[in-house]
Each structure stands twice: as C-alpha cells, then as structure tokens.
C-alpha cells in the first residue's frame, strides 16, 4: 500500500460541495494548458484512420529457455503436501493473492469515517453478487454490532394494536429470499459537472447486489392491523445513534416487494449492513433501506425527515429542490476494461459490465467501442432479475488504437439510459443525486484506460 497517499491535490470535495466552482475551474484550466489537446488530437488521429503502430510486446512470450519456467520447473504445490481442513471455529477468507480487492474510501470526500462511504471494487467483481465483505458502506453516524437477542421491531401509528417483535419471532414467519441491488442515491455524484475520480470503484462503487432473506413488511403490518387504506405512508426508523428515518409509500409495501431482511448471501446481515435487521426497498435508493430497523410507523402524510428535506433532495436549474426522489433509474457501467486499468496487449477481450434498473428488469444492453457512434448488443449473463444487477459481456478485438468504450442499458419499461448531454439538459449539473448517465472509458494507445466524458 502507498503509505503517503496525498490528502489533497485531487478533485473530490465534501458531498454537498461536489460541484464547487473552484474544482470545475481547476479542471478547465488544466485542460486548457495542453493536456486536453494532447488527448483530443491523439483520439482524432485514430478516428481519422491514421494507422499508429502500437508496438506492444506480447503479454505471454515464449522465453529463451524454450519454455515457461512455471511449466518446466514443477512448483512446490505440485511436489509437496497441502494444508488440512479448516480448524474448528474458523471462517474462510479469500486467497492471500486477492488482497488488492478491497473496499476503499475516496480520499478527501468526507472528514470523518463515521459519516462516510467505502466503495465496492466493481472493477474486480464477477457475476451479479457482491461478496458481503466487499459490499459498499454508507454510514451517517457510525456502525454498530447489535446483540440480536436484544433487538426489537415495533409497529405503531395507524394500526389496530401497536406491536413489538423479537428477532426470534420474525425469523419464525414465512420468509422470502430475493436478489436485489442497493445503490446510494449519490452514486456517481462527483461526476455531475466533470470527471473527478479515476476508477469504476469510485465512480460507481456505491452499488452492491445481494440475495436478501426476510419477511415481507406487509405481513407484519397485517399482524398489527394496519390501516392500509388511509395509512398511505410508513416511516422506517433505525436503532443507531441517528435513528435514521425515511418515508416509504404504502403502495410499494402492499405490492409485497418491501421486506424486513435478516439474511444476506446465505448468512446473517453484516454489521455494516444493519445486523440484525434492515429494510429492503427494491429499486429505491439505499438511504431508504433503513439499517438496524427498530420501528415502523403507519401514517397519512410523508415525514420530511432529515434525508428527505436537507439531503437526498435534487436541486434543479430553476432553483427548486426535488423532494422524495427515490427510484434509481436505469443505468450501467463497463467494469472491464475500466478507468485505472491497463490492457496488456492488443487482441481479444471480453468487455463486461453491470446494468440495473429500479423500475424492473434489464431488457437490453448495448456497447460502443467508438465513443458512441456505433453500438452492438451485448450478451446478458443469467439470471436477469427485477431490480437486481445484470451482468453483460461482449467480444472485442482491440487493434491498439485509442478508443472510447461505453455501455447503454434499456429496462423493460423501454427506458434507455441517457447521455450526459441529455441528463444535464433537464437537471443541470447541481442535483448531486441520481446521476445515471452513460459512462465513457478512454482506452489509450499505451493500454491505459482513463475516465473521460464526451461532449
């Protein structure tokens, strides 16, 4: 690890200051000082069909010895005795060679670790499930590891009889297990005005997908005799220091989609994810998935909680703040190749990435390898599930010339992921939340991949 990574000198800002004029000005100045022209001219030259020989060495040449020493000299593990089964009481860990695949904080983004974010390493993940230990974190007042035998869930408000449940009781009820993505409303927020961070981990890493297990909230509301007609809203409240609260529409709860989860990927929730109980609100931004869930109140009006009236509101160009923006609209990102990576050689690559929609299933993902001029439809890996991550991939032969790779998802409502130009035309660049624009990765001649935006 780099011990002395700088705490200043990059472009990110505290969340509410993401789009500072200074930051934008700085990029513009840098750009004008020549760097932009360099990249642009390199790209234009390639696009114009000028052949630039990219003399990259083959990544796996035949050595002069006449063979690979990894083949010719039998390794220790082929000649010795391996290790025994796990000792009692142990929990399996990834290979020691995987130590670079970690959650990470974006330096300088926040001033405390208790009200902060750690991003999931999307560039290193396969399939659609995020390993629980790599699930992104977003805390507002620190996380806790709560004794499940002492945790209670209360249901009150517009109900016949206010109820309390122990975890023992909740786990006796009929359960559902479903795969869903959870995405922070502020995912990709730093990129609204301009490119600000280098890799897919930092641009899109506030999303994860798990199989969650729990009990539909409607079951618990019916047990308390909730007024499902006049009770149009519920308040979900956590047991942590900030007792996080969010308003959830009863219509969504009545659909049976919303559930109180205790399970995640076959085991109990991780403490950072709300152990022992969190709300799962499919398709809706992560802040509504209240962790350490302690109370559900049924009411007849929305609650305008802190994260509905001060944060998680989207400023529009006319100065109005959009309140109760919740759905995570259709979005995708290519994860390999992606920013901060280096292609080892010319030749064949399997472009892969993730697509998702808070409105339903992914219907189609198109990939462009020429900056959005032409598109090809990618293969969707199965399963393709509603309000879950969907993995796509596409064959690509890289000829060594600079190019821009993009993906564009469509969901089963027919909605197509927008370009930055389209999104900014409606929402401007200052709304912080819900940036679902098409992501561009520039593959340079030297193999390095850079985060860029196209006009």
């Amino acid at each position: 690890m780099n011990q002395d990574r700088p705490v200043s000198g990059s472009l990110r800002k505290a969340p509410e200051g993401f789009l500072s004029r200074d930051g934008i000005q700085r990029v513009v100045t840098e750009a004008k000082s020549g760097r932009r022209d360099f990249i642009r001219s390199a790209f234009a030259a390639a696009a114009a069909g000028v052949a630039v020989p990219a003399a990259m060495a083959q990544s796996n040449p035949v050595p002069t010895e006449g063979g690979d020493t990894n083949i010719l000299n039998l390794p220790e593990h082929s000649k010795g005795l391996g290790q025994g089964v796990a000792p009692d009481g142990s929990y399996g860990k990834p290979s020691k060679f995987e130590s670079d695949v970690q959650r990470r904080q974006s330096p300088g983004l926040t001033q405390t670790t208790q009200a902060s974010v750690s991003f999931a390493p999307l560039q290193s993940l396969f399939g659609i499930v995020t390993p629980s230990g790599l699930h992104f974190e977003r805390h507002h007042q620190g996380w806790w590891d709560i004794d499940p035998s002492k945790h209670r869930l209360m249901i009150n408000g517009m109900v016949k009889e206010a109820k309390v449940f122990t975890l023992d009781e909740i786990m006796r009820l009929p359960a559902v297990s479903r795969f869903h993505f959870i995405e922070c409303g502020a995912n990709t927020a730093v990129e609204w005005g301009n490119v600000a961070v280098p890799t897919a981990q930092y641009t899109h890493g506030m999303i994860s997908c798990s199989e969650f297990t729990g009990v539909p909230l409607i079951t618990l509301l019916e047990l308390a005799g909730a007024d499902l007609k006049n009770g149009k809203f519920v308040l979900a409240e956590g047991a942590d220091g900030s007792s996080m609260t969010r308003t959830i529409p009863m219509s969504l709860i009545k659909s049976g989609e919303v559930f109180v989860a205790y399970g995640q990927n076959g085991e109990m929730l991780r403490p950072e994810q709300g152990y022992p109980l969190r709300l799962v609100v499919p398709g809706v931004q992560g802040v509504s998935w209240v962790k350490y869930l302690r109370r559900i109140e049924v009411g007849d009006m929305p609650y305008a909680t802190k994260d509905e009236a001060i944060h998680y509101i989207d400023l529009q160009p006319d100065g109005l703040e959009r309140q109760y923006t919740s759905i995570q609209e259709c979005k995708s990102v290519v994860t390999t190749p992606s920013g901060g990576q280096v292609l080892l050689d010319k030749g064949f690559y399997n472009i892969t990435g993730l697509a998702w929609s808070g409105r339903g299933k992914i219907k189609k993902v198109d990939v462009s390898v020429d900056g959005g001029r032409n598109w090809r439809t990618a293969r969707l890996e199965t399963p393709v599930l509603s309000k879950a991550l969907t993995r796509f991939n596409l064959d690509w032969i890289w000829d060594g010339k600079p190019t821009i790779v993009q993906s564009r998802a469509m969901d089963d409502t027919g909605f197509v992921q927008p370009t930055y130009k389209q999104l900014r035309a409606v929402r401007g660049t200052r709304s912080i939340y819900h940036n679902n624009a098409i992501q561009s990765w520039l593959v340079q001649e030297n193999g390095e991949v850079k985060n860029v935006q196209v006009a």
Binding site: A31, Q114, P249, G371, W375
Partner: protein, 358 residues
Amino acid sequence: MFKLRKAFAATALLALMGTALAQSDAKYPGVGRAATPKEVAAWDIDVRPDFKGLPAGSGTVAKGQDIWEAKCALCHGIFGESGEVFSPLVGGVTPEDIKKGRVANLTNVNYPGRTTFMKVPTLSTIWDYINRAMPWNAPKSLTTDDVYSVVAFLLNLNGIVPDDFTLSDKNIREVQGRMPNRNGMTTKHAMWPGNEFGGTAKPDTSNVACMKDCVPEVKLASFLPEFARNAHGNLAEQNRAVGAQHGADTTRPEAKVGAPALVAAPAAPKVEAPSGAKAALALLQKNGCTACHGVNNKIVGPAFTDVAKKHAGKADYLAGKIKSGGSGIWGAVPMPPQTLSEAEAKTIAAWLASGAGK
C-alpha cells in the same frame, strides 16, 4: 388407566380450544405481542411537518447559544458556519427569502455551497433531527427544552427570529411560516415509486437505442488532469494482480506508446505485521477520535502526527490528556474528556508518543 385417559382427553380438548381462540384473531399465533404505551412513548419520537409528535416545551435563543457553544460548535463552528466537518448549517438566506419562502441563492451558481437553512423547507425536520441524532457523539442526550433552545438559536443565526425570541410548541407553526425555503420544494417528478404525490409518469430523459452512425463526431469534454494521476493512491494496488487488465502504476508517469508493455506485476501477498499502530488506529476509529482528528491533517483538533511531534516520548502525559480533555494548546475549541478505558488510552498514547506511524 381409564381415569387417566379421560383426564388427558380433557386437557387435549382445552388445549385445542386455546389454539382455536388464538387463531381466531391472528394468522401467526405466538408471533409478536402488543406494545405497551410506555414502550411506544420511549421510541415514538418522530415529529412530522404538521408538528404531530412534537412534545410541549420551550427554549430561548440565549440558552440555545450556551448549549451550542458547549456541545455543537465543536463540529459546526461558533456560528454554525463551519464546513470543516459537516456542511454548513447557517448562511445564504436573506430577509427577502424569508418573505417569499424561496432562497434566491439556490439559483446562484457562484454562491459557495448550500447551507442547511438554504434548503430545508420544514422546521419539524430540524427539531426532529436534533432531538434524535444530536450531539453527534451523544445522540438523544438533550432535554426537550434544550432542543427548543438550540433550534431557536439556529433560527436566530439565520435571521428568522430576533435575539430575545422564545421558541415553543405554541408558536412553532408561526415560525414555520417564516422558513426561507418553505416554498422551494417540488414533487413533480417521476422518481417516487407510487402515486401519492401526483408527480409525473414520464421520466426526465427519453434516449433511443440508436445502433449506427449515432453521433457525427466524438469530442472529449472532460478528463482527469495529470496532477490527479495518483490522487486516489496507486491504482496498480487497487486491481486484481491477474486478469484481462491490470491496474496502472500511477506512482510513475504514463508509459510512452511503443515502450515495452507493462510486465505483469508479481502478485506479492501483503504480510500484515501486527503492530501497536494497528491497534491504536482501530481504537481511534472505535472511540470516534477520527471525527475531530486526522492522522496527517487537522480537522477540528490537531493532526495526530502533529501531536506526536509536539509530545514525542510523553506517553503518560498523552494518556492523561486523552482522559481529561483540555483546550488552549492547539486552539480555542476544547476537546471534551474521553470515556475510554485506561488500557485503551495507553495504547493510543503509546502510539502517539512513538510518532503516530502506520
């Protein structure tokens, strides 16, 4: 024998009746029980925009100021203006905004930042959040009247109420009528998963899945400047060591085209040396020290490396200081006494005294 059997049958019958009774009013007998009024009162603390749930009480601006300086200024600044730890609470609103209920600075792209009072439309939100979540390191420790006082002080700092104002459950609705951005919200959008707000059904954008010759010319509009190359640490160490792509070594300048391709970096597993530093850093996290101190940077309090420089070798002094708190050495903002164990304080102090390394 006969008697016994008869008695058993009677018991079984009773038991059956019991089950039947339970099932008559519940689908899942034995799951959940009625909450007592005392239990509901203990947890049902939310305050809605119509002030349902607001407890009776009152507080003055003057008392709010005292509480503020003792418990809030640490993070938010003496005037609620600080953006060092959290976004600023105060500033950016004008008497004109208070009259209109719309904050003009929200359309001013040159205004540096968006404070809480520029955005929040509902006074209930402020009351509710301070009551449930503040102070940050001791949530729910304020009395009802304390909360009224702190809210009154914040209102005063924003020019919404006069210096001699007393906020109470009796007049809070009138004050709501003076909130600077009370008319600044809209729910006319397609991003709420229901029809409760009316909203609109049509999403903001309507891209089409064009497949061929979609854009005439591709132009780069934005990219990271060269100086930011290594700002997020070495990206070679943030990617798997094997795979179709490896991470770029951002500690070095970019490879020139035509230079030899990067050599696949040997996947060197990292050996974690158990150290006092690791234990100390974990304790700093656990005890919330990092809310006010950065390892290499000043936040509210000094950087740990600066403390280490000033008090090198003085572990006992530092352990005492952690427990007792203090002010004046690094600035006027006091560090409150910390409630951690003797052993924990000593671990942190030893780490500081030896240079605060990693």
